[in-house]
Structure formats: C-alpha cells, structure tokens
C-alpha cells in the first residue's frame, strides 16, 4: 500500500509498488488528464508535479512517492482558473489536445520558478513534445500567463 497526497487529498494505491505513478493516477485514482504517450519519459504527456517539481510520471514507480505531494492537471486549479489555463484558452493553443495536460503542467512549474521567462528560457525548459506542433501558441500563451 502506497499512500501519498494526490491533488491535496490523501490517496492510497494498493497495487504493485512498482506500478508507474502514471497508471496509479489514471487507473487507480481515475484521473485521466495525465496521458500516456511513450512510457519512457521522452514526451512529457504524463507530466505531473511531485513536491512542486514537474516530473514525468510514466517512469516513476508509485512506491517512490510515498508521503509526497502529487499534483495532476485536475488539481492545478478549480474551474480553469490557473493563469496558464486562461492563457491557453485565450490563445486557443490546443489542436488534438492530447499533450496539453503535460504541457501546461510543465509550463506551470516553469512559471513557479521563473515568473517571466524569456523566449530562450521557454525554449530551454519546455521540452514536452507536441505532434501537432502547437508550439508557437504555447510560447505565446506562456508569455500571456506570465503577464497576468
């Protein structure tokens, strides 16, 4: 049994402790906002916050996060209230939308460290993959969110 804080509430996962955190979240807790894209930590679709840091949950065993704080896209805000979500809507960033949960979680971690990142800092930090290539609007939305 692995217990951790999930979106502000205690959650216990009683499957194999080696289960990747992503699947504990998606199937154990039923929170399907974090996505499966590659399973090897390369694409970032599974990005969540672990004690405030953006990590890729498909490569982290749930047993490793005992007693830690996990935040998923569902827990980022109530009602699309996070500045990034508002900016994402204002700029109409998503196309297929599949990568966007992870993308927003990465951007949220970035803004928590660098409130007004430059293009270079965005370029360096944001390595989540988007097959639809919505990157131009992502960059714009991060700037928009940073202003607000």
């Amino acid at each position: 049994m692995v217990t951790f804080e999930l979106n502000g509430k205690p959650y216990s996962f009683d499957g194999d402790a080696m289960t990747p955190l992503l699947w504990a979240i998606r199937e154990g807790a039923g929170l399907t906002g974090s996505k499966f894209g590659c399973g090897v930590g390369a694409c970032g679709a599974c990005t969540v916050h672990l004690n405030g840091e953006a990590v890729r949950s498909c490569i982290i065993a749930v047993g490793n996060v005992a007693d830690m704080k996990v935040t998923t896209i569902e827990g980022l805000s109530d009602d699309l209230g996070h500045p990034l979500q508002k900016a994402w809507i204002a700029e109409d960033v998503p196309q297929c939308g599949y990568c966007q949960s992870g993308m927003i979680m990465s951007a949220a971690a970035l803004l928590s460290q660098i409130p007004a990142p430059s293009d270079e800092q965005i370029d360096e930090y944001m390595t989540n993959l988007c097959r639809c290539a919505t990157y131009q609007r992502i960059r714009k939305a991060i700037h928009t969110a940073a202003k607000n």
């Binding site: 930590g41 390369a42 004690n51 840091e53 990590v55 490793n64 390595t127």
Partner: protein
C-alpha cells in the same frame, strides 16, 4: 537501522557472557569504533562471517585481500596481543611484516590508545572464524613488503592526534574522525606517484576503483561548500540530502558505517569539513552554445533525463538528485557520472525493491550521446567543468562490461 547497533551489541554480549559491566561497556564502545572506522568494509566479506576477511581490494598495484581479524587462533588474530594490534594500527606493522596501506594505518595512527583498547576488546569478543586468508596477492615486486619501509618514509608519519585548542570540541572530534578512524582521505585525497596522500590537496577528490570520490573540502565549486552542516550530517546518516544521493562505494560507506554514527559525531565531521580550508579547485570558463555537444546533449537530456531530474536540473529533493549548480556534476573526474549513467544507481541505504534508483542507460545511449549529455550537464545551470569525451565513455563502458561491442 540504529537498532542494529543494539542488536549487534546483544549478539556480542551473548558471545562473551562472562564479561563484566565495564567490559561490556568497552566492548560496546569498541563496536561503535569499528563502525566509525568501517572495519567490516575490508574485513567482512559479502557472504562471509563478521571480520573473517576475504574482501578483495583493488589497488593500483594489484589485489590485496582483507585479513581475518576474528580471534581465531590459526587464521585470525587469536595469538595477537593488544600491543601487536596497537602497532598495526599506529605503525602499520603486523606480526608478519609491514602492512600495506590499504589497511589505512596512516589514518588509524591517529586513533587514541583508549579507542584502540576498546576496539581490541570488541574484536576479541566476536566469534572466532576459521578462514585462512592470503592477503598479499600483489604481483612482484609489489609483494615485497620491505618496500613499504621506503613507502612509509615518503608517505607516513606516525603522529598521534592532537586537539587544536583554538578550535571547538566538535571541530576536534570531527578532525579526529575524518583524519583518523573515518580515513576519509583514503578515498577522497589525491594520491602521489607512490599512492601516498597528496597532503597539499587533502580531501580534494580522487578516483578509486573507477568511482570518483569527490572533493569534500569546503570549496563551493567542487566540494561541499554549498552544503550546510545539517546537509552533510544528513548525507552521512541517510545517504541523501537535498543535493545528492550516495552511490557506489560511498553508498556502501553509508550503509555499513556512517548511518550508525551518532548525530553528534556526524555533525562533528560536518563541522570539521565546513571549517577547513577549501581546495583550490575552480571553474573553467563554461562551454558555450558554440559547442555542438551542448546542443546535442540538451536534446539527449530532454528525452532521457528530464523526466526525473527536471527540465532545468532541479530534480526532486531527496528523490532525484539536483544536477543544476551542484558540485556533483562538476568533479574533476567524470568517473562516477559515467558509472551512474552507464550502470544505473540505487539509493544509498535503501535496499527495498521499489527504492528510488536510476536505470542503467548503457543499452539506450551510445558513447557520443553520453559524452554529449555529461558535457551538457557540466556546463549548464551554473555548472562549468571539463567536457567528457566519447573515448572516456567507451573506456568506462568496457570497464563495466568487458568485451562489449
């Protein structure tokens, strides 16, 4: 973990039921001193009985094997007196000739008589084990012990430990532990041509068994200058702190030895290290964007490393080591970095199956990719250090997997 000290104490008590209270107390102290000195690292084999010897030590000159120091009459120290033991500890002389400094007598020479007495009492109390060990497996001419006379002339001075009255008791305790029982310099101090300590660069970092024992001076660039006393103590006691996670031989040191140290002793070591002069190591100019390795390394990092260590190297405290602005990645030698990237790493003292660990990337990354990503790490996020070549990667890869294609 600390409970095992008590458990071992109970076990050793059983073995010496006739011991008096004073004796038991001395034996218990001796047991703790053996933990401080980490005797079992060399004298207790992985599958062997306590202190029965058999641990192979790879020295630059060849293989030595830790001897049997149980009280066994034929194969251990059963016939030794305390004076014999004291001479071994203080002068590096055994009953059968000079000891090789793999037995770190240049450090142990600082151990007080009282501590030696306690240690001896403890060793006499452990179960005698019949296990013949031939210690000297060095090739000719290194196996000629008389050569050590010369070595000692160059590298050894049997000065006992002296308190520095101008320093705090904790500092002195820390000095006693670091320079003496802890023999940290055994791994962490660079060696001269004869494999003696380069005392001018004490604790400045050294490669042992292809692991890099880092600079642990107070130098902020290469050593523990950014660590607080509490950080250092936490590292010794748990194998991890907000900066780093022990791996390889240091993970074993934590597992076998320092996790059992008292909080006071761990702090004393920390204070000593923090208050010592830092090494002269300093950052080279960082490799800039014009170096293609940095760009390629950034891509490799994004695909393989970001998931745990974070897009800007921050990691997750006490879970995934921070790679940003940390001495961990800036060491003069990239040996440990190579070992960890190629071979993976387990948490210091946490041996549970699902304990945090880093996977081995040998199969996933080729030599150029590892060269790129380590060069990238060493020159990004406040780090600046020499690049790592693909040749170095290949050498470590072959060391870990002889015959690999």
């Amino acid at each position: 973990m600390k409970n095992s000290v008590t458990a071992l104490l109970a076990a050793s008590l059983c073995a010496s039921v006739w011991a008096s209270d004073a004796d038991s107390e001395r034996i218990a102290r001796g047991h703790y001193i053996s933990l401080l000195g980490n005797c079992q690292a060399c004298h207790t084999a992985a599958d062997g009985k306590p202190f029965a010897g058999g641990v192979k030590l790879h020295s630059p000159f060849g293989i030595l094997v830790g001897s049997n120091i149980t009280p066994d009459l034929e194969t251990g120290l059963g016939r030794w007196t305390f004076e014999d033991f004291s001479r071994a500890m203080k002068e590096g002389k055994g009953r059968n000739g000079h000891l090789y400094p793999a037995m770190p007598y240049p450090s142990y020479t600082q151990v007080t008589d009282e501590d030696n007495a306690a240690l001896w009492a403890y060793l006499k109390s452990v179960e005698p084990v019949h296990n013949p060990v031939q210690s000297n497996l060095l090739p000719f001419p290194y196996n000629q012990r008389y050569l050590l006379i010369g070595w000692n002339l160059l590298n050894f001075s049997d000065k006992p430990f002296r308190n520095d009255p101008g320093k705090s008791p904790q500092w002195n305790r820390g000095a006693y532990l670091v320079e003496g029982l802890g023999h940290c310099g055994g791994c962490h101090t660079p060696k001269n041509l004869t494999a003696g300590d380069e005392t001018s660069r004490a604790l400045g970092g050294f490669v042992v068994d292809s692991w890099y024992a880092t600079d642990i001076t107070a130098n902020a660039y290469a050593g523990i200058g950014d660590w607080s006393v509490a950080d250092i103590a936490e590292y010794l006691k748990t194998g991890r702190n907000r900066f780093d996670t022990a791996s390889g031989p240091m993970a074993e040191v934590v597992a076998d030895s320092s996790q059992y140290w008292t909080d006071a002793d761990a702090r004393a070591v920390a204070i000593y290290l923090k208050e010592s002069p830092g090494s002269a190591a300093k950052a080279p100019p960082p490799l800039g964007e014009a170096d293609l390795r940095i760009a390629r390394g950034a891509d490799t990092y994004a695909l393989y490393c970001t998931g745990c260590h974070g897009a800007n190297g921050r990691g997750v405290a006490r879970l995934f080591p921070r790679l940003a602005n940390t001495a961990l990645v800036r060491g003069e030698s990239p040996a440990s970095l190579l070992r960890i990237v190629l071979g993976g790493s387990r948490q210091g003292v946490d041996t549970a199956l699902n304990a945090p660990g880093m996977p081995a990337f040998a199969r996933h990354l080729d030599d150029q990719q590892i060269s790129d990503v380590l060069t990238f790490l060493r020159n990004r996020w406040g780090n600046a250090a020499s690049p790592v070549s693909a040749t170095e990667v290949r050498a470590m890869r072959q060391h870990l997997q002889p015959g690999v294609k």
